[in-house]
Symmetry: C2
Subunit: 241 residues, 2 copies
DNA sequence: AAAATGATTGTACGATATACAATTATTAAC
DNA sequence: GTTAATAATTGTATATCGTACAATCATTTT
């Protein structure tokens, strides 16, 4: 296709013609939240080499596909979900990172709601949720990717409303606090946490209670996306600490 | 080379054999500081297409070269500098970002000291420093790269000691303040700025003065890297605001 | 000696972060 | 139906930090 184009710079043409192929892949670090801790979606490779070893879910980037689109495709193929919170993490570009072909990978992390994904699809792909505090060994540099993603999540969650991406649309404040405790890996003070999240005026209290975890029940809330965009337009951020 | 390897997964082999080449490049957003404002190193393309247009400095990543090494190579080729502060910005991976071959680019931004680089080399490459507030149109998506880099610099400089990377080893506090004013694009209060930067105990006052900009002269300081690493080990950061 | 110039310093107030425990709503048990 | 049990909900006091604000100092030039 591209070979037909006219007027390409000589250096580019020469480089192109002389070079061997370099593969570009993307690997997704897919986080969920359940029972007080962060989960990570991994799958067991069914082909050699490294057969049977746990791995992040990834794919090569096709020639006619944006890098971000490749990550969205991977995510949809395995979870059935579109329009998920996903962001670029980092490029993993060491020469020897993959024992096969030369392949660089763009790590992208995603936050999904565990009550929304397609459980059949996940099963078909042999994917399993693992607690991030109890992960098996992973192939290649995937452990580094996970560590980097957790670190980035910790930093970003402090000022951007990422916690909500891991909960269903309706959630209780204790659930929200639990998400942030899992992300920050430490306990938060209930009174201070409530004061802070309410201070931004982006939570809408509903007339329903969730009674699954207490006799009294906890009120459900929704996140108000419009008020949040007003908040950031005003130059503020969504601080939780 | 890689074709000889045994035991590659069938999907990988098939993908490799059927795919066309995708090029991987890196583009450097090289910042300097002088006369109160941030500068950007650009060069004028000497080959078609886009001949004569301003561009960031970049290169293809070689098959036997880490992505980060490619950026370091580019930077050294044009400035003669090694061990410069450089960090990955973002991957630019849109299918149509380059009108020639399919090529993704890893943007990396660097901070250098304008009194240290090799001026001959820069001239040889036809590169010129431009004020970031007065940039010419740039090729491809390079304007977006610059905008992203400036935004990232603004965010990171708030908590990491990046300002020092743009000044020579010895600097005055007014110079340091001027760097941060250029990064944050606003004026800072002298008393508050001094209070804050001194509070971290990472500046060493020297017995020399710089008299180039005032009759009284301003004391020179050095950045104490060891004390800084102690600071971050203690869980603190280098806040400037 | 006086004027000019930029460097240097302190204080007061408001906002924010953090530490800390009693009360409330509801259900289950007696 | 009273009591016990459980988790949800709420407020205050203090320390820390961000920010606004102007006078004095060191040095050179006139």
């Amino acid at each position: 296709m591209y070979e037909e184009k006219e007027g390409l710079p000589a250096v580019t043409r020469k480089f192109y013609e002389q070079s061997e192929k370099m593969l570009v892949a993307t690997d997704c670090i897919i986080f969920g939240f359940d029972a007080g801790s962060l989960k990570l979606l991994l799958f067991k490779r069914r082909v050699s080499p490294l057969e049977g070893q746990w791995s992040l879910i990834g794919s090569f980037v096709k020639l006619d596909e944006d890098v971000s689109a490749a990550a969205e495709r991977v995510l949809e193929e395995i979870t059935g979900l579109k329009e998920v919170y996903m962001e670029e993490l980092k490029v993993y570009g060491a020469v020897d990172r993959d024992p096969g072909y030369r392949c660089i990978s763009v790590g992208q992390y995603a936050l999904i709601r565990l009550n929304e994904y397609d459980k059949e699809l996940v099963k078909e792909h042999g994917a399993v949720w693992h607690d991030v505090n109890d992960l098996p060994p992973l192939v290649l540099d995937h452990e580094q990717m996970v560590a980097d993603a957790l670190e980035k999540l910790k930093n970003k969650a402090r000022y951007q409303p990422l916690g909500f991406e891991l909960l269903s649309e309706k959630f209780t404040i204790p659930q929200l606090q639990s998400v942030y405790e899992a992300i920050f890996q430490r306990e938060l003070d209930t009174r201070n946490f409530r004061k802070k999240v309410f201070s931004h005026n982006v939570l809408v209290k509903l007339d329903e209670k969730d009674k699954s975890s207490s006799k009294r029940g906890a009120f459900l809330y929704k996140f108000d996306h419009k008020r949040y965009s007003d908040l950031i337009k005003g130059g503020s951020d969504f601080g939780v600490l």
